[in-house]
């Protein structure tokens, strides 16, 4: 449920601060298209251009954790690498049998 897409913050926009605690907007880039996204659901003090956020219905819902993302990818890659080694070993043993 709940389509969420990662986007990169291009600029924190100077907002009108009627709602100081829930300000405000950031310009976010998704694959070359840009939209103003509300960042009031995040601690916007901690956000800066270059950060990635998950966007849902025009709101940034979560700041993407680069360390966690890298860890997940490393794990997946290690599986892939091990798999390739096995395939290579399998091919070798298959050719030896011929």
């Amino acid at each position: 449920m709940c389509l969420g897409i990662p986007g990169e913050i291009v600029e924190i926009l100077p907002g009108r601060h009627e709602l100081a605690e829930f300000a405000d907007l950031a310009l976010v880039d998704v694959g070359g298209v840009r939209r103003k996204v509300h960042i009031g659901l995040l601690d916007h003090e901690s956000l800066a251009p270059g950060d990635w956020v998950l966007i849902h219905v025009g709101f940034a819902l979560s700041k993407i954790d680069e360390t966690e993302a890298a860890a997940t990818l490393d794990f997946l890659k290690s599986l892939g690498a091990a798999y390739e080694d096995e395939i290579a070993a399998f091919r070798e043993s298959a050719s030896e049998q011929e």
Binding site: M1, G4, G31, W52, A69, L76
Partner: protein, 375 residues
């Protein structure tokens, strides 16, 4: 696209498929429920069943907030939309969902002013631009979407926009999972937990699933490798005799969720005693309403809604499909009376519904499809 493309790698998917197959005990069958419609969609859109071991079967759960809105609530929404001076706004997903009196598209064709928005803030913008009209936002969604609606109401108040209200149909994820676990014919061996809801509520609320019901649950994202890795983790837990909540989606989901988003919900909304779910019936504490303090923005209070109740069609077996008791094609009306063009039940109404996904993407045998694409 970063954080998307790298999780679609075919080689790593093959590696995971290999690992999963190795974890299956010979002769045993595994049923896992993906609670979330987004996962159902991802499984079909990316053809992920190709990677699952034959012994693993996915059950498509109730997690599409659009599909579970009961027909009566839609009829209430059409009633509001047809009041003089009202502009009704809602997400694109809602436009084709049938109530008792047709869909939003039908209501629009009858003359109601119904507009599609991308964000609740867009609805507020329409209200600001049309001071002579009253703009109602038909809010749907789980805890993922509720904070955005709540923040929009706070914003409306702060900016003094009085011609705006929300017809609140937000639902909560935990009671629906509990309802499924409590169902006597429920048969899942483990759960793929929703990703974006968890970005708000975190992982702790799921701890009762292993503790009380003895089923493992893995929270994960929506890219192919996310989904496959979650199934891999479930199989690993079962193989190792573990039963716990795991977070595969830590890049987006903090274990404790988003406190600020939760506090915004708490400020503007409160739990309903009961809410009706299409296909599942009445579930206690399973939905949110606008709290007394923000009554001025509550369309249910502003408009005399008829409170229409429309019983789910008798022939429809969505409840059984949602619980995984029936496969979509086992339903009596699937593919005959109930199709994506003329949906009867919740599972067929949105592309995320189990039946619609199956009808669109999955209705051919995996083997036949696989062979066709490999030739």
């Amino acid at each position: 696209m970063r954080f998307v493309d790298e999780y679609r790698d075919a080689d790593q998917a093959h590696a995971l498929a290999d690992r999963m197959a190795a974890l299956c005990r010979p002769g045993r069958r595994y049923q896992f429920m993906e609670v979330c419609g987004g996962h159902t969609h991802a499984i079909y859109k990316h053809g992920l069943e190709d990677y699952l071991p034959d012994a693993v079967e996915m059950i498509h759960g109730p997690g599409c907030p659009v599909c579970v809105i009961p027909m009566g609530r839609l009829d209430d929404a059409f009633h509001i939309a047809e009041q003089p001076g009202v502009i009704m706004t809602t997400f694109g997903d809602m436009m084709r969902v049938p109530g008792g009196r047709g869909t939003f598209l039908d209501a629009k064709a009858r003359g109601a002013d119904i507009r599609m928005v991308y964000s609740p803030l867009d609805a507020l913008k329409i209200a600001h631009a049309n001071p002579g009209r009253h703009v109602v936002f038909m809010a749907v969604g789980f805890e993922t979407t509720a904070p955005s609606t709540a923040l929009t109401i706070l914003r409306a108040e702060a900016e003094g926009i009085g011609n705006f209200s929300v017809f609140c149909n937000h639902v909560t994820i935990i009671p629906s999972i509990k309802a499924i676990l409590d169902s006597p014919d429920q048969r899942a061996d483990g759960f793929v937990g929703p990703g974006h809801v968890s970005a708000v509520i975190g992982c702790r609320p799921y701890e009762f699933v292993p503790r009380v019901y003895g089923k493992p649950l893995v929270v994960t994202g929506f890219e192919p490798l996310d989904v496959l890795r979650a199934v891999h983790q479930l199989l690993t837990q079962l193989a190792e005799g573990r039963c716990e909540v795991e977070n595969q989606y830590a890049r987006v989901v903090p274990w404790d969720g988003n406190a600020r988003a939760l506090s915004v919900i708490g400020r503007v909304m409160e739990l309903r005693g009961y809410f009706e779910w299409r296909g599942l019936g009445w579930i206690p504490h399973s939905a949110l309403k606008i709290s007394e303090r923000y009554a001025a923005y509550d369309a249910e209070r502003i408009f005399q809604i008829p409170g229409v109740r429309v019983a789910d069609p008798k022939a429809c077996q969505c409840g059984e499909v949602l619980k995984g008791v029936l496969k979509p094609w086992e339903c009596k009306v699937f593919g005959t009376a109930c199709t994506p063009e003329t949906p009867i039940g919740t599972c067929m109404v949105s592309s995320e519904g189990a039946c619609a996904a199956y009808y669109n993407f999955g209705r051919f045998s995996r083997k036949r499809v696989r062979e066709a694409t490999r030739r």
